[in-house]
């Protein structure tokens, strides 16, 4: 009997054994973890994906709706949301120490989309995951929609997806496109247009400390006219040295959920009605496994 044959022969036994082991274990151990993964759907209004772009040829301003305008969406779980602290709904804060802003002490959080370095410093803090299918999509958006063509480290415009790929592989020593976070592929885009014309996406908040009565709230960081984001820190992230150039890849600020008002500015969309989780404890939440929709409908105007 060949060794491979032996392995195949044992598969059913293996399954039985695995089942027995799982059953035996289920009888003996319940970890009762106080953390839960919270899943649901975020909805951002169509306006958040809408820009008015001046057509170079006609000089006319045209409305462009494109999910690629949607910035990173942040979610946090908090003890309470108050409407008197800022000009928009804002989590309750803890003590003020030394005149500094109070900390919100979030129970957990998550995002839809993260900043990722798209291999050229000209894209630093401008590329969010889940928004682009491939290299061509990125090149097209920056060149034709934003009118901010991507340039390489020598300042030359990047026009070829193949050149784009080569640059990425050289920089990161990657060998497959799926190693690059910012390329989502055809099926990996986060946001899809719904029946109302708004955009929605699924989210997961990993391992949130569960407290009965906590509220899920968040905001979407809208890029400014130059397509810059306030929640991205260009000096954060991994440091790279390539040839003689040293640069960082940029990433989100590390205290976004603790001090959201430091980062929320005009044009961002905030959750007006947070979702309250009323299950008695984490086990009850897990049993129910609820999903819910969070609407980012409060436009920050001042």
């Amino acid at each position: 009997m060949s060794p491979r044959g032996v392995l195949f022969d044992m598969t059913s036994a293996t399954r039985a054994a695995l089942l027995l082991a799982v059953v035996a274990q289920a009888c003996t151990y319940d970890e009762q973890l106080p953390q839960v993964d919270i899943r649901g759907t975020v909805v951002v209004p169509r306006a958040a994906a809408t820009r008015y772009i001046v057509d170079d040829r006609t000089g006319q301003e045209a409305e462009v709706v494109d999910a690629r305008f949607i910035g990173p969406v942040y979610l946090g779980a908090y003890s309470d949301i108050r409407y008197d602290l800022e000009a928009y709904p804002h989590p309750a804060t803890g003590p003020i120490i030394g005149g500094e802003l109070g900390n919100t002490y979030p129970y957990g959080g998550g995002t839809v989309g993260v900043f990722d370095f798209a291999c050229y410093t000209s894209t630093l803090c401008k590329v969010v995951t889940g928004r682009y299918t491939d290299y061509a999509s990125l090149l097209d958006f920056f060149s034709n929609t934003l009118k901010q063509p991507i340039t390489d480290e020598q300042g030359a415009e990047v026009q070829s997806p193949d050149y784009f790929r080569t640059s990425c592989y050289d920089l990161f020593e990657y060998t497959e496109d799926n190693e690059l976070l910012f390329l989502a592929g055809e099926d990996g885009l986060d946001f899809k247009e719904n029946a109302d014309g708004d955009f929605e996406a699924e989210f997961t908040m990993w391992r949130v400390n569960y407290h009965a009565g906590m509220k899920v709230w968040g905001w979407m960081d809208s890029p400014d006219t130059n397509f810059d984001f306030t929640t991205c820190d260009p000096s954060n992230g991994q440091s790279f040295t390539q040839y003689s150039a040293t640069f960082t890849t940029g990433s989100s600020h590390i205290d976004l959920l603790n001090y959201p008002s430091n980062y929320i500015d005009i044009g961002d969309y905030v959750v007006n009605e947070p979702f309250e989780l009323t299950y008695e404890d984490a086990d009850a939440f897990r049993d129910a496994a609820p999903t819910f929709t969070l609407v980012y409908d409060f436009l920050v105007e001042k």
Partner: protein
């Protein structure tokens, strides 16, 4: 040979089992307790601060020894009342003058300067409302950690030390090393008249005498940081509070340093 090795082996094995490290650490010094409370301190006014004699007279000059309880923090505490404005709190442990004597490692690249590498102690500065300080003054050293309970009853330990320094890698809770002065601007406008505690946490004592001598002070300032107050009296924080060290020749060396004449002690590498 075998017999000798056997004998050595047996002795080594048994002796080694009983070794510990106690004898290798700095020992407490009777005259300088490791935990002291210096009482209340009145912040200096701007004019007092600018007057060298008054600055010296009204500032704290003291020493700390190793804590008699190994493994527990030592340090000094004192309090001041919130002025309603901003104050600058500064502490300068002996000694370190940033000369280049440390680089005998590579004499081809550096200078050789006279210095005593072993007279540098270190204190770390923390300041906060006394109500938040959880140590027992004069008995044990604590910190400014307190518990906040949110509306759902969740408790979070938070840091109420208002003298937060950010480290090289961006993390909070950093402190300067090796006898370097530390200072912080404290805004007392929300709590005028309330007690603030200044904690000088003993990080290490110098190797030469196991006592770290230091100077400390609190001064009223106008801005929101210490820069003006410091630059008004010295080009270097090391020279704001002088003569904190008691070792032989300390004052003269510090004076050379503060006058920018330290190089006179240096020789070019061979």
């Amino acid at each position: 040979m075998s017999r000798l090795l056997l004998a050595v082996g047996f002795v080594s094995a048994f002796v080694a089992c009983d070794r510990d490290s106690k004898q290798y650490f700095p020992q407490p010094v009777d005259e300088y307790p490791g935990v002291v409370d210096l009482g209340n301190f009145t912040p200096l006014t701007a004019s007092e601060w600018l007057d060298p004699a008054a600055r010296t007279d009204k500032s704290i000059y003291a020493g700390l020894g190793e804590n008699a309880n190994p493994g527990q923090w030592g340090g000094a505490t004192f309090t001041f009342q919130g002025t309603g404005g901003t104050v600058c709190v500064i502490v300068d442990p002996e000694a370190v003058f940033w000369n280049t004597s440390v680089d005998v490692r590579s004499p081809a690249d550096g200078y050789i300067c006279e210095d005593n590498n072993y007279d540098d102690g270190d204190l770390d500065l923390e300041v906060g409302l006394s109500a938040y300080y959880n140590g027992t003054p004069g008995v044990s050293i604590g910190n400014f950690e307190q518990v906040y309970e949110d509306s759902l009853g969740n408790e979070v330990v938070f840091e109420a030390n208002e003298c937060q320094m950010i480290g090289f890698r961006g993390q909070a809770g950093a402190h300067a090393g090796r006898a370097t002065p530390e200072f912080c601007a404290i805004d007392t406008s929300l709590h005028p008249g309330r007690d603030y505690t200044v904690l000088l946490r003993l990080w290490s004592v110098p190797a030469d005498d196991f006592v770290v001598h230091y100077a400390a002070s609190v001064v009223e300032i106008d801005g929101d940081d210490c820069s003006d107050a410091i630059s008004a009296v010295a080009a270097d924080p090391e020279c704001v509070l002088q003569n904190e060290g008691t070792g032989e020749g300390f004052g003269a060396l510090e004076e050379l340093y503060c006058n920018g004449e330290l190089d006179t002690l240096c020789t070019e590498p061979e």
